[in-house]
Amino acid sequence: MTLADYLPIALMFVLGVGFASVAMYFSWRIAPKKPTPEKLAPYECGIVPLQEPAQRFPVKFYMVAMLFVIFDVEIIFLFAWAVRFDQFGWAGIAAVGIFVALLIETLVYVWKRGALDWNVARRARYRRVVAPERVQEEAA
């Protein structure tokens, strides 16, 4: 296959772009244009909402969701080991041990940073102790 064999693809591409632009051009030329505010409004069913929908979830839910997704799914690597653990022997157990230790280090980090704290006031106190400059940043 050389570049010449790409000709059908190039033709296809040109045809596609050509068709789309011709169609768009004519619909723009031929269509009558008498705009009214109703016509310009984006189409939606039902009544126009007068106010923003109800308040969304507090941020702490997202925080827990993110951490849950990550810690939950990382365990998947244990499956690969679990189906054949008898053949891997002690080396396998050591490897899995290191893997779990890494997860625990991450957990400790997250904990220390106060991300697991449900109580926001307590979290703020943590931060004043662990990272005073961040409190200033957030105040700014």
């Binding site: 296959m1 050389t2 280090e105 980090y109 662990v130 400059e133 961040r134």
Partner: protein, 505 residues
């Protein structure tokens, strides 16, 4: 038994990543986090050297290419050269970040943690020899950079840069994976050596169409990562919106990692399918050079200009790939093309990091990235203006700065292939080199010849010092660009080592 000597750079770097995370938890000056990171990078550089000069060391048993984990992971001269490049560039990138992060209330500890994780991905990438490893390495490179791009949390431009980069990044990862799944399905292999062996039998068979789609999707995924036109649209926005040291990192380490993955996949896995990737990359190379340079011509923001310039440089790096388009390309010619790409990557790292170092130093003074405000810089900061000229002329390819050698080997590789298509690509590249010179020279001319604008307080700027870490980075890159430009033999020697890789094993 696992060869721990061969894995030492990765293990040391992984240890550094954990150390940085731990130091960040301690109540110390955040400055120390960067120091630990720099020390770790230096430490992981040592085993790269001992592995590289194994044949001259008494304690080291030279075994040639070392394969680990089956054929999934290889430590050979190619991967060692690239590992050295990644570690060195990361060293400079950390130096660039220190002053920047100190200058404002950024979350510093995590920044270095993320940057080093990303570097670890790049180092793994250089050795990856199967689809799973290369995918994980690629994600490790890009994942942290999404967060780094949005490091100025309160700045909506930085937010926007981050979101655009993230969406394009995950989209390209999905495309890449789809391609890889088809390649796996048609060949039944995950290692590059296995794919290469199986791919020969596919040609002309039932599965050829599926295999072709798989190869093209895989290339597409990498094209996003190296921001080749027409998959480049995230690049200028992300480069402009991110903090400048992150932009420097993205345009050098992250981009080079993409190219390394592309090199390994094209030259090892799809070695016998040059008829597939040759034409595709020919088009990408020509488009990247032309679009990147033409867009760069009309930029007024210097970071954005370098963004488009790096797209164009990416095109030049792709040119040797595109040269494989010619029918019946021989092993020797492929080796030459491979050599050209690696050489270009090595030199590109020096000059682009240097250019960004100058921009960070200038930006610290002027608080502006508009090219108009940079006029007359020679008057109050002659050293900085001179270095700007050095890096920009190097990017343009003017001897005796290193850039000329990169362009020279690139042209030599294309012309050695011969034939109409390769010649056409050479002509496009030549025209583009001229266009590129115009906008590089315009900035330099403005900095040297034009008077400084009224609102720039020249007297204050003249007294402003450059941060020591930035000075160190500037000295390193300037020395690199000049020494490699005058003695290109050094780079040629290093590049020569990697050639054996291209001829397969």
């Amino acid at each position: 038994m696992i060869d721990y000597h061969a894995l030492a750079p990765e293990l040391l770097l992984a240890g550094t990543v954990l150390a940085v995370l731990t130091v960040d938890l301690l109540r110390v000056e955040k400055y120390w986090v960067a120091v630990v990171g720099l020390f770790g990078l230096f430490l992981s550089f040592i085993p790269v050297l001992t592995l590289g000069f194994c044949d001259t060391l008494t304690f080291c048993e030279d075994t040639g290419t070392r394969f680990l984990f089956g054929e999934s992971y290889a430590v050979d001269s190619f991967s060692l050269v690239l590992k050295a490049l990644f570690l060195g560039s990361a060293f400079v990138a950390v130096l660039l970040s220190v002053g920047y992060l100190e200058s404002d209330r950024f979350w510093q500890g995590e920044f270095y943690f993320l940057m080093l994780s990303s570097v670890l991905g790049a180092v793994v990438m250089a050795s990856s020899r199967d689809l799973v490893t290369i995918f994980v390495a690629l994600e490790l490179v890009t994942g942290p950079t999404f967060l780094m791009a949005g490091w100025r949390k309160g700045d909506p431009r930085s937010n926007e840069a981050m979101l655009k980069f993230f969406i394009i990044g995950v989209l390209s990862a999905a495309l890449l994976l789809f391609g890889m799944s088809l390649v796996y399905g048609t060949t039944g292999e995950l290692t590059f050596a296995g794919i290469r062996a199986e791919a020969a039998g596919i040609r002309g068979g039932d599965l050829e169409a599926l295999f072709t789609v798989g190869v093209l999707f895989t290339l597409l995924g990498f094209a996003f990562k190296v921001s080749a036109v027409p998959f480049h649209f995230w690049t200028p926005d992300t480069y402009e919106g991110s903090p400048t040291p992150v932009t420097a990192y993205l345009s050098v380490v992250s981009k080079t990692a993409g190219f390394v993955g592309l090199l390994a996949i094209c030259y090892l896995a799809f070695r016998d399918a040059t008829f597939l990737w040759g034409p595709a990359l020919w088009v990408l190379a020509a488009a990247s050079m032309t679009v990147g340079n033409l867009a760069a011509l009309r930029q007024t923001n210097i970071v954005r200009l370098l963004g488009y310039s790096s797209i164009a440089q990416g095109g030049f790096i792709l040119v040797p790939f595109g040269a494989a388009v010619a029918a019946g390309v021989t092993d020797v010619q492929l080796e030459e093309a491979f050599f050209a790409t690696v050489t270009y990557l090595l030199i590109y790292a020096f000059m682009n990091l240097g250019a960004f170092a100058v921009i960070i130093a200038g930006g610290n003074r002027l608080r502006s990235a508009e090219i108009g405000d940079w006029a007359g810089m020679f008057g109050y900061a002659p050293g900085l203006a001179t270095m700007l000229a050095v890096f920009f002329f190097s990017l343009a390819g003017i001897p005796p700065l290193a850039g000329w050698f990169a362009k020279f080997v690139m042209f030599r590789a294309v012309l050695s292939v011969g034939g109409g298509w390769a010649a056409a690509l050479a002509i496009i590249a030549a025209v583009n080199s001229v266009i590129a010179f115009v906008y590089y020279a315009k900035v330099v001319k403005s900095a040297f010849m034009d008077p400084a604008p009224e609102h720039v307080a020249v007297a204050d700027l003249a007294r402003m010092p450059t941060v020591p870490s930035l000075q160190f980075a500037l000295v390193l890159t300037v020395a690199g660009v000049i020494v490699l430009g005058i003695f290109p033999g050094i780079i040629a020697e290093i590049g020569e080592l990697t050639k054996t890789f291209a001829s397969g094993f």
